[in-house]
Symmetry: C2
Subunit: 350 residues, 2 copies
DNA sequence: ACCGGATGTGTCATCGAATACACATTGCAG
DNA sequence: CTGCAATGTGTATTCGATGACACATCCGGT
């Protein structure tokens, strides 16, 4: 074990621990001679500061907690984590990572552990329970939510799903598509806003509104968004997308384009189209949502890019700002969605 | 700030801090009456233990560090992280996450920070510098490498790329394919083993050997593994895969199957095949490697599954075993690759 | 009645670094 | 040559929890 303490260094350099500390932090008065001797001692002894002791004394850990809910291999998660870590590292912060796996109980435990560990801030990627977030705020620790906004007292980083979906629809309409299908997640028609389901609703609303604004009649036959198993095996969106596209092909054979509310659904749809020999984009255009593995598909999928790295980055930065500045209002930062046109969209009948 | 200390709880319950500590850890003798009063005080004051202070005193942090090298959106990384976190959480350990981004210098800094923070163990996913790993071992901290084996003094979790590739080839040969192409990463022919390039070599060796064992002549025209930009924009393997498949189609038009040394390359290949109208698997079979987004492709890609979750899980478990048991020899654990047959492979001319 | 073990509780040093404070020493202005 | 600020350095306390140790008390056995 590396047992070199500041005391040992001080002894070696023939000074007191206070002087070593002053050299380490470059504050206070230290004579050139003493400084040199201390620096030598530091080097020779291979001293490594004990961050735990410093944290206790300073009552700051220079650490943020990151709680995520990775249903295994949710591609969404990766970039958020990488972005958050990047921002934290830039400011000299460390990241404690916890996976609450979509469970409020576990999320509660993660919060408790993080507060016990006296992190300076906590970033929630899609928090499950607002109470858990509130708990962090109550403890006087910076709290930032990503994607959701369950706790008004916390800061948050959000995107506008409506805007993103609107862009996708605008793109299809501008290409000349009139009959456009929709594949998406279900959501209870009547339910409070700002829940997980709200994302699905916002995307769907944009679809419906875009059609209306284009003067196209809304046709139920063009829409499939039944319930599908969200639990087992990750999202389960793949098979669903495939099944839904099949249904769409049967219900509305005159469709020339489909808007899928996620890349996963789009990927499933693409599989059906491939199996049925429907060429993309020649006979069917397709737009996805998220931009996770979209570029890997054949053909590369046009999709709405959700800036996940940026969201993670902003969230961590926000947390750190809150920690160092501690201002009054926890802000709400918005990230912009953007359409990425690849190879699955073209003029109808091209 | 939550400033409730064990001292406050003790005062409230009318006992000493030692008694509170005994209640908290359920050891030593505590009378029923005292226990009850302490438990009440604990509840009422909302006491939360200060893990930092405990860590300092106990000289154990119940934390492991995880260093990764996520070139943005490397799909490989996610599952490893999730697996490691899962194993750690099961044992009550926390995970400090650092991204060294493929840079030895940064990796060095990550190690220093983690050692400063007195983590009990460090898991390296594909370490960059063996010296950095050795440094951890020298500090008396448990070190585990994933995928590589740069430091013999550290434990490691490895997979056999040769075995995996062999399985892929066996599958194609058993289906009746004779002329099988190869798309892969380049590697210097003459170079020490156990480097990053070794993975590429092992996969290629398995391809070549499998053909030989099947009595098929080795044909350079069936192999494309030139140099492609590994740096910018993640792996850059996608465009490469597409370009290589194009070359293969031209060089060896009689191929009935192709083995791609990664899913990314396979995805690129699939894009070319789609663009050229070559039906998969009817006119061309394709096997990938890694099993990252393979199920999302159209058609779902047959591939060799690299058990990434398991590798992360095992690595963290191993680290924790090393911490708690501290035995003599750091073990080398092997994970098995397994072929996942999906929809891109079939008998030739089927 | 006395002793030893089981039971119950408090005191205080400790983990390693930071820092308030006290105490020197020097330099320079008045 | 006195006084005060600037410069250097060491001592001792603190952060919060732990646990070794000391000290009680109570009980049953002899």
């Amino acid at each position: 074990m590396n047992g070199v303490r500041i005391k040992d260094v001080a002894a070696k350099a023939g000074v007191s621990t206070a002087t070593v500390s002053r050299v380490l932090h470059d504050n206070g008065y230290v004579s050139a001679a003493a400084r040199e001797r201390v620096e030598d001692a530091l080097r020779e002894s291979g001293y490594r500061i004990n961050a735990v002791a410093r944290e206790l004394r300073k009552r700051r850990t220079i650490t943020i907690g990151l709680i995520l809910h990775g249903a295994l291999s949710n591609p969404f998660v990766t970039e958020v984590v990488v972005g958050a870590e990047h921002a934290a590292a830039e400011q000299g912060f460390s990241v404690l990572l916890f996976n609450a796996r979509g469970d409020a109980e576990r999320e509660y435990e993660c919060v408790e552990t993080l507060l016990s560990r006296r992190v300076d801030g906590i970033v929630f990627t899609t928090a499950v329970s607002g109470d858990n977030v509130q708990r962090v705020v109550d403890a006087g620790v910076a709290a930032v939510e990503i994607e959701r906004r369950l706790c008004p007292a916390a800061a948050s980083v959000v995107v506008d799903n409506y805007d993103g979906a609107q862009e996708a629809m605008k793109h299809l309409l501008e290409l000349g598509h009139r009959r456009i299908g929709y594949i998406g997640e279900p959501f209870p028609e009547a339910q409070a806003r700002h829940e997980a389901t709200d994302i699905a609703r916002r995307r769907f609303d944009a679809y419906r509104d875009a059609l209306r604004e284009a003067g196209e009649p809304f046709d139920e036959a063009c829409v499939v968004r039944g319930d599908y198993p969200r639990e087992q095996g990750g999202w389960g969106g793949l098979e669903t997308g495939a099944a839904y596209m099949d249904r769409l092909l049967a219900q509305a054979p005159d469709l020339t384009a489909v808007f899928a509310a996620s890349d996963l659904l789009a990927a499933g749809a693409l599989q059906t189209l491939y199996a049925r020999g429907v060429r993309v984009p020649d006979r069917m255009s397709l737009v996805g949502f998220d931009d996770t593995f979209a570029p890997h598909l054949a053909p590369p999928l046009s999709t709405v890019r959700q800036p996940m790295f940026e969201m993670g980055f902003k969230a961590a930065s926000l947390a750190i700002t809150l920690i160092t500045d501690d201002r009054a209002e926890p802000p709400v930062e918005r990230c912009a969605m953007s359409l990425v046109v690849r190879a699955t969209t073209a003029r109808p009948g091209a």
